[in-house]
């Protein structure tokens, strides 16, 4: 024990594929299967095709926002403003179309860009003013939500257009379009994180911003880009939300940040930065979505759903901690 401070402990001897990341993913998959078995035994509707396609068509909002959140958490930051950004993009898009007569396609793009702008603001405050990301995005969380109310004057706007509806409700060969977009984004960012120097730099920055900077990595630029990505993806989720509801409301996507952070952390991404995978996040998102769906089918009150979600988070992270501690114990015994 005493040697731990002065001399390096022997590294863990493990099979190559059995990394911490794969273990986390494996335990998540097991929990997911158990969850499905449980729901299937409780309600006959759970495994029906109609229900599964409900799950599939409503997963994109949390799923897409979680990609951005994973990137931000890997750098050691956090983005609380995603729910507000999702609402803002919907409001901006609908106002530009309905009141300013801008073509819907252009309005949609501008709505998404508005989210990117908020992300840029977040990134600039975090990097240049050096304000803690939690505080920064807590502030923009409030500012942007307020802005959505101011712009819309608190009104809900109906918004229906065939092409626009397709984003959230359309299907391609029976598969929801939003799901296809989500999976494509996961694929893209999976490769970005794993195989580009940009992605690898994010892990390095999360591991040690100081060392990364002194290794010649443009830390500021990376952080700006990451917050912009998070803003853009949250805004895109907001568009999907509007398309699914056929209306834009300043109240939209309340609490999205909570669900998203839960999913990402559930997927094994560390709040301390430097660790996390998109596969983990994807599984985390699926588990949360399944949990919500199953509880609805079991006719559990929505109040209890919040309670359940909180418990799942603590269980998942607690389990991970125990596993880590157990692993360390074994290592120090071996050393």
């Amino acid at each position: 024990m005493l040697s731990a401070q002065s001399a390096p402990a022997a590294p863990p001897k493990r099979r190559k594929w059995l990394t911490d990341d794969t273990l986390t993913s494996l335990s998540l998959v097991v929990s997911f299967v158990l969850l499905c078995v449980f729901f299937a035994s409780q309600t006959p509707y759970f495994l029906t095709q109609a229900n599964l396609s409900t799950i599939a068509s409503t997963i994109a909002i949390v799923g897409i926002t979680s990609i951005g959140m994973t990137l931000v958490l890997i750098t050691g930051g956090v983005d609380i403003s995603v729910g507000s950004v999702a609402a803002l993009s919907g409001v901006v898009t609908s106002l530009l179309w309905l009141e300013h007569g801008i073509p819907l396609g252009v309005a949609t793009v501008l709505g998404i860009l508005a989210g990117g702008l908020v992300g840029l603001l977040n990134g600039a405050i975090v990097t240049y003013l050096k304000i803690n990301p939690l505080i920064t995005t807590l502030a923009t969380f409030s500012i942007v939500r307020g802005l959505a109310f101011v712009l819309s004057e608190g009104q809900t706007n109906l918004l229906s257009n065939e092409a626009f509806n397709f984003i959230g409700r359309g299907t391609v060969a029976g598969i929801p379009f939003s799901l296809i977009v989500m999976l494509t984004l996961y694929l893209i960012f999976f490769f970005v994180l794993r195989y580009t120097s940009f992605g690898r730099n994010l892990y390095a920055i999360g591991g040690s911003p100081q060392a990364s900077r002194l290794a010649g990595i443009a830390v500021t630029r990376h952080l700006l880009i990451v917050y912009v990505i998070s803003g853009l993806l949250a805004a895109f989720s907001g568009i999907i939300n509007v398309s699914q509801l056929a209306s834009s409301a300043p109240r939209a996507a309340v609490g999205l940040e909570f669900t998203v952070i839960t999913a990402v952390v559930l997927g094994g991404t560390s709040l301390a930065g430097g660790k996390g995978t998109l596969i983990g996040t994807l599984i985390g998102v699926i588990i949360l979505r399944t949990l919500d769906n199953g509880l609805v089918l079991m006719q559990v009150s929505s109040f209890y759903q919040d309670v359940a979600r909180g418990f799942v988070l603590i269980l998942a992270v607690g389990f991970d901690q125990i596993r880590l501690k157990f692993g360390q114990l074994q290592r120090s015994k071996g050393a």
Binding site: L2, S6, T196, S197, G207, L214, A215, G216, G274
Partner: protein
């Protein structure tokens, strides 16, 4: 044992201490004795075993074999609390205090007095606390205001408050680890006044410092360790600076000296710094490093050399002056500019500033060069592994396992070699190193020196900043001394003596 005949039983005796980490002997039969009221200087190079010995005394480490006697009694310390209960106090280089609490609160951290009676006993009696603090400060005739926040005190006074805190609980022995590293000369005098005062009251002090000149001012005896072995214990009156250095260093310097031929001269200037100034850190610094040359900057810690190198690398902004690489001026605003200009940087604190501790050796080695290992934006993992393996082999980086092992599991020397590999992989032409062998054991140290020499021979321009005189003399061909942010002298290695270097680092003009 040696002291027994002279002064009765010594206050503290550590006898035949042995300690190994993973089969590497760190302490080999080391003995030490300390008398009441004396200052014993504990000297040795980095890695000689000083801090291990002190940590054993403090109960931080357990020894493999050996005995500790305190006032003639055999004692065993299992944790720092045990040592504290026996009146042994540590004052570390990094101070441990709460900056936003007052001096009073810091002094009485664990024993703030409470009032009496029903509501009173649940509240702190601030008036009495203040009086208690004042009384303790008075013990050493100190005029420090007890209500001031620690943050607002000058460093030396913070240090003194720490000493008072250590005293407050009946200290018999105080160990001071580099207490003057951050102090100015008048402050050092002030600290010495306190130490003398303490000794007059019977407290014994173990004093660790790299500033050898101080030893002659403050210590009564010196104990010198080298490579984990006790080399000598002598009265200060019987030694000279030169004899102490020789005992600390052994004969290694002379042996190394012959191996290097003088380079530079006709070779091309790769790095040139002109009149670089940063207010409050360094002033009007000009220097040149040729291809194939190792230039040393020698100075005591805190002489501005750190800030200077950080500025060359773009991690700090200089106020004036210019930096030229290959004769053309570079605008270096950020570290990435420096990297792109072909400058690599090895910072002091490897664990915080160089390494991503949780990531693998491979990822750490390629950290500065990820861009170049990608093709069409995609990472070539095979190429990356090849390159990493190349550096592992050629620099002799040793690790338990393969290159996927997290770098925190490597020893200090191997970690430092990985940092070297990172910059070699990034293909730099200039390498700036800050105290590259701090916390690196002796064997790995000479390994690193060999690597630096080989790199210089292959055409790299190397600027080495160190406060370790032996290191400077071992590897550098040209040596600049720095004192309070100014370059005071320049020497060719073959024409300089240690005394000249020390004089330059002490600001004496020759």
């Amino acid at each position: 044992m040696m002291a027994n005949q002279m002064n009765g039983a010594p206050l503290l005796e550590m006898r035949h201490i042995h300690k190994s980490f993973f089969g590497v002997k760190v302490l080999d039969d080391v003995s030490l004795s300390l008398r009441k009221g004396e200052v014993l200087a504990l000297l040795g190079e980095n890695g000689a075993g000083k801090s291990t010995l002190i940590k054993i005394l403090n109960g931080d480490y357990t020894m493999d074999s050996g005995e500790i006697y305190l006032g003639g009694q055999h004692v065993q310390f299992h944790e720092p609390r045990d040592a504290e209960a026996h009146g042994i106090r540590m004052i570390y280089q990094e101070l441990h205090y709460a900056p936003d609490l007052s001096v009073t609160e810091n002094l009485l951290l664990n024993e703030l007095p409470h009032g009496r009676g029903f509501p009173g006993r649940y509240a702190i009696d601030w008036r009495r606390a203040r009086e208690m603090a004042l009384a303790r400060l008075k013990l050493l005739d100190l005029a420090i205001e007890p209500d001031v926040h620690m943050r607002d005190l000058p460093v030396v006074e913070r240090q003194i408050v720490e000493i008072v805190k250590a005293l407050s609980a009946e200290a018999q022995i105080i160990v001071m680890d580099e207490p003057t590293a951050a102090l100015t000369p008048p402050e050092v005098e002030m600290l010495f006044g306190i130490i003398r005062n303490l000794c007059a009251q019977g407290v014994a002090i173990i004093y660790i410092s790299h500033r050898l000149d101080e030893i002659f001012d403050i210590a009564d005896r010196v104990t010198i360790l080298r490579d984990g072995q006790h080399v000598a214990t002598q009265a200060v009156a019987e030694v000279t600076m030169a004899s102490v250095v020789e005992l600390m260093v052994g004969r290694e310097i002379e042996a190394r000296r012959k191996t290097i031929e003088v380079g530079g001269g006709a070779a091309q200037v790769v790095l040139e710094v002109q009149n670089l100034t940063r207010q409050g850190a360094y002033e009007d610094v000009s220097l040149k490093v040729h291809a194939g040359e190792i230039v040393g900057v020698f100075g005591l810690i805190g002489s501005g050399q750190l800030s200077l190198t950080r500025s060359i690398f773009g991690a700090e902004r200089p106020d004036a002056g210019s930096i030229l690489v290959d004769g053309s001026a570079c605008t270096i605003r950020h570290p990435q500019d420096a990297r792109n200009a072909g400058i690599g940087f090895v910072p002091v604190d490897r664990k915080v500033q160089s390494l991503i501790m949780g990531q693998s050796v491979r990822k750490n080695v390629t950290l500065s060069n990820w861009g170049r290992l990608a093709r069409m934006g995609f990472f070539q993992q095979g190429v990356e592994k090849q390159h990493t393996q190349h550096w592992i082999d050629s620099l002799g980086i040793r690790m338990a396992g393969d290159m996927e092992v997290p770098i925190r599991f490597l020893s200090g020397g191997n970690q430092q070699k990985s940092v070297l590999a990172r910059w070699l992989e990034a293909n730099v032409r200039v390498l700036i190193l800050n105290e590259p062998t701090w916390g690196v054991d002796v064997g790995a140290r000479s390994d690193i020196y060999d690597q630096l020499e080989a790199l210089a021979q292959s055409g790299l321009a190397i600027l080495l900043v160190s406060s370790d005189i032996q290191e400077i003399l071992s590897v550098c061909q040209r040596i600049l001394t720095i004192y309070r942010g100014r370059i005071t002298a320049e020497f060719l290695r073959d024409q300089v003596t240690k005394d000249q270097l020390l004089a330059g680092a002490a600001g004496e003009t020759l």
